[in-house]
């Protein structure tokens, strides 16, 4: 699974992209954020306030409770500010 980070989430994590293989019990986006937070203090800091984080699974916006279901690409980012 590829995990992408954008904007300040990217800056906090210190990575724009990483390839990860979370264990089977990581089934939702929330689970993935928990699991990523356990990998480094930077990840933990980036995911410390979940309300500020939006997620997309395979390039579609998804709520945190959604299951990952074989997702290939999961992205985390702040609320968008384009336009």
């Amino acid at each position: 699974m590829t995990v992408l980070y954008f904007a300040w989430v990217k800056e906090k994590v210190g990575l724009s992209e990483e390839t990860v293989s979370p264990p089977a019990e990581v089934s939702t986006i929330s689970d993935l954020m928990d699991w990523l937070s356990s990998r480094s203090t930077r990840h933990a800091a980036a995911f410390s306030d979940r309300q500020l984080i939006k997620a997309a699974v395979d390039q579609t916006h998804m709520p945190h409770a959604s299951t990952l279901d074989g997702a290939k690409e999961v992205a985390f980012f702040p609320p968008v500010t384009g336009g």
Partner: protein
């Protein structure tokens, strides 16, 4: 017809609008919106802080897909002859056009509605993030609750 372009290089809104009108000779009305980069942040330039430059980060792939999906939604609501969306990413300077949305229809009320719908949803759904460079350094622009409220009003 639909044209969606996410691009780093600057574009000329007037030239885009003229081409768009020219390719839609049977549409009586064309509504457009141009979002341009201001050189300050805050309610007014006098009260605000100077913004010298901006960087628009985006999610390649998803941005185009999301805009395409928004246009499909707009087309389900209104009979649109043509839609154009151009959105910048990368470095921008004050005065640059950030986004252009244009809708061509037979009837003007539908052109206005589609154009505003697209802007309202683009603001809350399209994966772009603005980082402004001020004298205090570069900071990420925060999303506004008012944008969510405006997008929500289109929900049926």
């Amino acid at each position: 017809m639909t044209t969606i372009r996410v691009q780093q290089h600057a574009f000329d809104p007037g030239a885009e609008i003229n081409s768009f009108c020219a390719r839609n000779p049977t549409s009586g009305g064309v509504a457009t919106f141009i979002g341009q980069m201001r050189d300050f942040r805050g309610p007014t330039r006098a009260e605000g802080e100077t913004v010298a430059a901006m960087t628009l980060e985006y999610y390649p792939g998803m941005a185009e897909r999301q805009l395409d999906d928004l246009v499909k939604q707009a087309r389900e609501r209104w009979p649109l002859d043509d839609v154009l969306i151009v959105h910048r990413h990368g470095p921008l300077v004050p005065g640059d056009a950030i986004v252009l949305v244009a809708a061509a229809t037979a009837h003007r009320s539908e052109a206005f509605a589609a154009c505003e719908f697209l802007m309202d949803w683009l603001k809350t759904q399209a994966p772009f993030w603005k980082k402004e460079a001020t004298s205090d350094g570069a900071t990420w622009v925060e999303a506004q609750a008012s944008d969510d409220a405006r997008a929500a009003k289109w929900k049926k």
